[in-house]
Assembly symmetry: C2
Homo-oligomer: 114 residues x 2
DNA sequence: TGACATATGCCGTTGGACGACTTATGGTGC
DNA sequence: GCACCATAAGTCGTCCAACGGCATATGTCA
């Protein structure tokens, strides 16, 4: 699972949200770093609905325009929990290894002037 | 940055490694979950060389066959550090939100028999 | 009136990951 | 002696998630 998808699920973790609110929430979660494109958003929503990780929570007509809100399914919650744990472990291992780094002699293959 | 790439950089975080050793290391780091295909590996190595996140550390001829080993550059190390921190923060936020989950009434949009 | 936020959605492109394949050596077991 | 697996490096075509751009519509504020 890639970051945009994971952030999307995270945005639904505390409560259901509609499309535009998801974009705002992902922006907040990621500290302004990830601005979901609507192409990514609705593509991902369709995919996640198909995979039954999310479901339509409500459909209201606001000014004759459909407003859908989406929620995590139980399966989606389980998946997000697992993904978050996997991510945490991967990040921890990377940080551990960065700390372990050996101070190796720097070989300069092309005879660069060091 | 996607997971395979991040794991590849992580595999180089403690010391230089050649291609096959990277595959083994990524397998270990990920707890047997991620088996890098050689297509992914050499594609990523080429890309990361171009981006100067990694460099060729040594080239020895073993039995007339070239064996290259790759190392993180300073830039690669910085990037990996940043990516790991970003990942850690994302995972933490997901876990926090999973804990925050509201117990909302379950709306069953299609009149499903609960 | 024009700009911007809110809000939903489609479509074509791109790029990273993937699966399958090739080549080569050395060791282990039958 | 031969088959099979581990080690080792690499290519190529495909696929799909993400992306950028676009269309559409309403409400609000200057």
């Amino acid at each position: 699972m890639q970051e945009p998808t994971l952030l999307l699920l995270t945005a639904l973790a505390d409560r259901p949200r509609h499309g535009y609110a998801i974009v705002q929430e992902v922006l907040a979660i990621s500290g302004g770093r990830v601005r979901l494109r609507t192409g990514t958003l609705y593509g991902a929503l369709d995919r996640l609905l198909k995979e039954e990780l999310i479901e339509i929570y409500s459909e209201e007509a606001v000014d004759g325009r459909l407003r859908r809100s989406y929620a995590l399914t139980a399966c989606g919650r389980t998946t997000l929990t697992a993904e978050a744990e996997r991510l945490r472990a991967t990040a921890a291992e990377a940080q551990r290894r960065l700390g372990l780094a050996l101070r190796l002699p720097r070989i300069t293959p092309k005879g660069a002037t060091t």
